[in-house]
Amino acid sequence: MKQESEWGPKLVSFLCRWCSYAGADLAGTSRKKYPANIRIIKVPCSGRVDPLFILKALRLGFDGVLVSGCHPGECHYQTGNYRARRRIAITKKFLEHVGIEPQRIQASWVSASEGGKFADVVAEVTEELKEIGPNQLFSEERQGDGTKATE
């Protein structure tokens, strides 16, 4: 049987290969500690992230989604992160209207040299997700005790 204290959020992240992915790498090589709740998917640019990815992740039972890319003005492809910003902004607002907690959709700018920032972001996001609890949005047993959603 699972203990309540054992539950930790599962976080899926889409990291830009030019910055945040290297940032995550740097966090590792500089031995920064951050929660192991994160699963990383490398994408060519934060602009690659279709809001569909976010919905699919939530459908699969992930408790949160983090999209991370280069700081504004530093995109390898000049404009990818600006477009991602618009897209994620409307996604977050719209999902709130449908009834999804906005905390489940997270975004950050992390450059390749910001290993420390990456560790901080993961820690902060994990804390926020712990507060709102497990994702039962797409679970048939939403009214249940809440442990079935991710299994």
């Binding site: 459908r59 504004p72 477009r83 910003r85 618009r86 902004a89 409307i90 797409f138």
Partner: protein, 316 residues
Amino acid sequence: MEQRLRNEAKALLEQGKVDWIIGFEPGSLKFTTTPVITKDKNDVDRLVINPFIVNNLANFLTEVTGRVGIVAKGCDSRSIVSLIQDNKVVREDVIILGVPCPGIIDLSKVERLAGKDRDELDDISREGDKIIIKVGADKKEFAITEALFDNCLACELPTPQEYDILLGEPSSPVVNKPAAQAKIEKLKQMTPEQRWEFWKNELSQCIRCYACRNVCPACYCQRCFVEETEPQWILPTPRWQDNLIFQIVRNIHVAGRCTDCGECERACPVNIPLRSLTKEMYDIVGELFSFKAGMDKDAPPLMTHYEQEEAEDFFR
């Protein structure tokens, strides 16, 4: 107005200025109209303009080749402009026959007002801001705001902004914002959990016929994500989870191109209040980026454009 449309359409076809005319003809059911797409100049005598021309004909523009003369209400003209912005349609290839729209009558609202099926009604007519429903010798009068579609009540620009020929005097909007927003306001009063439950219940009825997608002029992708199999984003079986993802993602994909024409909600065979989703996205886009779809054919589409500083607040 109707006669002028027929004359103009005939002239356009005869002079070879257009290959196609897209308009409305009387439908097979009482009071309804149905789209007509024709190359034949004898067909133009069937063209009509009345308060029942519901469809957004811009949808057909991406399906025909050649030059097209198209009948467009205010919202339709914005859909056309949106297609021009997206390079789906060349401005020079369309001749927009603009109809100053007084608002379209929602037959199901009329049925509710009259308490009778549409087949039992003899006549529905409009005089100023009144709607008159006749059944035999019986005559009932209602305010027009009670009989128009919700999206018509929210419409601020019923006269096309972009047109080649305007078929009448510009009409003034019949705005009733509270009535138009009633369903959405009710949703906003709910808690997020209640909203999710609401949409879960509504989308449980969805049979995934994709009518909402197929009537939408903004949904012009050759291949939709719902039909992709590698990866298979959602299952083709109509389960509420997948139905909801389909609706959410569809709305995100058409953000900045949805002109609040209300076709999706009208097309829905199980009466899911889809406009409560589309209008919310329309408002979000307006609020965040002061963007209104289809207002300026030279402006870049919403999702290909950006400002240096905007929507920053939630980024860590």
